[in-house]
Amino acid sequence: MTAAPPGRAAVTGPPLRVVIAEDAALFREGLARLLADRGHQVVAAVGDADGLLAAVARHRPDVAVADIRMPPTHTDEGLRAAIELRRDHPGTGVLVLSQYIETRYAARLLEGNAAGVGYLLKDRVADVAEFLDALDRVATGGSALDPEVVAQLLARSRHPLGELTPREREVLALMAEGRSNSAIAGALVVGGGAVEKHINNIFTKLGLAPADRDHRRVLAVLRYLGTG
């Protein structure tokens, strides 16, 4: 096997049943191949939002990966389908992929609940391990927000973040992306205890109530920043 980089352990979780909705055949097939290569089962790969809704209703997958711009109008039908899926199939995680990040889309997608939902740039698929980690998180009720969304949120936060140390800001950003403590520790190359300490400091400084689950933590941070 290949040498697993730090933070890669989560990838080798149980195989997931996945539905892919993406109108560009090239990317759809590439993604299906990538997922199959990692032992996941792609139960359906469709090209539009209606196909996505039908496939999810039929296969009840662990997670659906959806492009935002799809036929017929090429605007936000994927996003609307994703919102519908979140309402009608709470057991299925929804990971929305897009070539653009719109902060407002993130807000619409989350709507006060960050469980089992993700919003990533298509570029992130290129970092295979991180992408699969995010997919796994979304499939198991966690969340995955693109670093670019988080960066924009941090940049225009309603509250001053000046009290936080640079390291604490980094931890806050990774937390907002939906990462677990161990993933944060892996990303920053520090120990789990250090991460916990940072997180406690952040919650104290910002006056937030500690959250037990990662996706609740995401929501708390987003609320604090003024979105979600």
Partner: protein
């Protein structure tokens, strides 16, 4: 073949022009066939309708004059009519007042209603021209509506195209005569053609009886015929008239259309302005649509390919054995990173060409812009209808530029963006509580903005005293 000239392969006959003297035959054919063509029928019908209409309309001023004369006669008695010097007040004071009243009413009616009347009639003439001749005449700009009672009346009087339309039936008098002549050529010509056929029916009298000669009507006067041989002269005159009628009708119709273009159309300069406005609007819309298409093509083409390439390189990188050649690993890493960087660059480029959020409407796109801004933005949009795509694009880029300016230069804590529709205009107002001192003459950003707005007759108004606050108002039409 080759040098012998064109030969119709279907019939094998040479075209008429190819034979020496063939043009005479073809001209003769044209002249003989002309009275039978649909075009001639339509042109004659046009002349007939125009002649009737022209006579009726010409009757209106004469009718008015007659009315005045009658009123004057009634009020003054037996003196011959003189419209200018009204009756002496000492004669019939009541009559003089009545006359003055009628004169005033007629004058007022003429002054205020004539332009309207002319416009309405102009529409009828234009319809006839388009319908019967297939020669559409442009519609002049609609009359301006004044504000308030006096303003409205003034606008009614100051209606240039309306007065030109009033002049049309008067100026057209010679053309009207030509049109009457065309109808006369056709009708009288046809009548003359019939002489030899009915002559014997009515003239089978016993020999020796002298009968009144029968007049034959031609455009150059009438002549009398008394014998059967004479009917052939009538027939010949009729044939000549029927053959000439199409050309008289055509000439009269062409002259009428020329007059209509000048007096009932939009006017040469106004037409040019309208044409330029239209072609500019097309150019602006076209470029907006082109940019939209370009972005869509990038999105569905190059960006997808690059994303897939990056994904495949990512997979390749993961699959490289731990003990793989470090040089190979380095190369794959570099390719992977390069693909990702190219994706970011391409995305920024595409976003600058056409922001995808704009597909959902200006309100949505501005909300996205506001969400991505570093300075807190208060956004209020009230648009009952969507402007044209090109206008949305201009408004969006104006807003983006103004927000970037506010964030960069003004040190503002709060920016307000308002989007409203006022009249037929889109009004975008961006205000901040920053340092002010923005000068459109110095900052290339603001002057660029004004230039962008001017391509659609929009305006940019900057109020930014030193010390602030700054308020920039962009006014754009709803369509280019």
């Amino acid at each position: 073949m080759g040098a012998t000239g064109p030969v119709n392969p279907a019939t094998g006959r040479e075209p008429p022009g190819g034979r020496p003297g063939g043009w005479v035959a073809s001209l003769a054919g044209l002249v003989v066939r002309a009275p039978l063509t649909a075009r001639t029928r339509r042109e004659l019908l046009f002349c007939l309708t125009e002649a009737a209409l022209g006579l009726v309309v010409l009757a209106v001023p004469f009718g008015l004059l007659a009315l005045l004369v009658v009123v004057q006669r009634l009020t003054r008695g037996t003196t011959p009519p003189n419209l200018v010097s009204w009756p002496a007040a000492s004669d019939h004071p009541a009559g003089a007042l009545l006359y003055l009243g009628v004169l005033l009413v007629v004058l007022l009616l003429v002054v205020f209603l004539a332009p309207r009347f002319g416009r309405g009639l102009g529409a009828v003439h234009r319809y006839l021209s388009a319908r019967l001749l297939g020669e559409p005449v442009g519609v002049p700009a609609p009359a301006r509506r004044g504000r308030g009672g006096p303003g409205r009346l003034a606008a009614m009087v100051r209606d240039g195209p309306g007065w030109r339309a009033v002049a049309y039936p008067l100026v057209k008098l010679p053309v009207l005569l030509a049109e009457i002549y065309a109808v006369l050529f056709a009708v009288a010509g046809l009548a003359n053609l019939t002489y030899p056929f009915w002559w014997r029916l009515f003239r089978n009298h016993p020999p020796g009886v002298r009968l009144q000669p029968v007049p034959v009507l031609t455009p150059f006067g009438s002549f009398d015929i008394a014998t059967f041989a004479g009917t052939f002269a009538a027939f010949a005159a009729g044939a000549a008239m029927v053959l000439a009628a199409p050309w008289v009708a055509r000439g009269a119709a062409a002259a009428d259309v020329w007059l209509m273009r000048g007096l009932l159309g939009p006017g040469r300069l106004a037409q040019r302005v309208a044409d330029l406005e239209q072609s500019r609007a097309l150019a602006v819309e076209d470029s907006a649509a082109l940019l939209r298409r370009l972005e869509r093509n990038l999105h569905d083409g190059a960006q997808i390919r690059l994303a897939t390439l990056a994904m495949n390189l990512g997979m390749a990188r993961e699959k490289l054995e731990a003990d793989a050649d470090p040089e190979v690993r380095e190369l794959v890493d570099a390719a992977h990173q390069g693909a990702k960087d190219a994706l970011v660059e391409l995305r920024n480029l595409a976003r600058g060409i056409h922001p995808p959020a704009l597909d959902n409407g200006l309100a949505d796109a501005l909300a996205t812009l506001a969400a991505d801004s570093a300075v807190p933005i208060e956004l209020s949009t009230a648009l009952p209808q969507r402007p044209a795509p090109a206008i949305e694009t201009i408004a969006y880029f104006c807003a983006a530029e103004l927000l970037a300016n506010a964030a960069k230069h003004s040190h503002a804590n709060r920016v307000t963006v308002e989007l409203t529709e006022r009249g037929a205009a889109l009004v975008l107002r961006v205000s901040d509580d920053g340092a002010g001192g923005a000068d459109p003459d110095r900052g290339s950003g603001l002057s660029g903005l004004a230039q962008r707005a001017r391509t659609v007759d929009g305006q940019v108004e900057v109020v930014s005293p030193p010390g602030g606050p700054t308020q920039v108002t962009v006014t754009l039409p709803m369509s280019a």
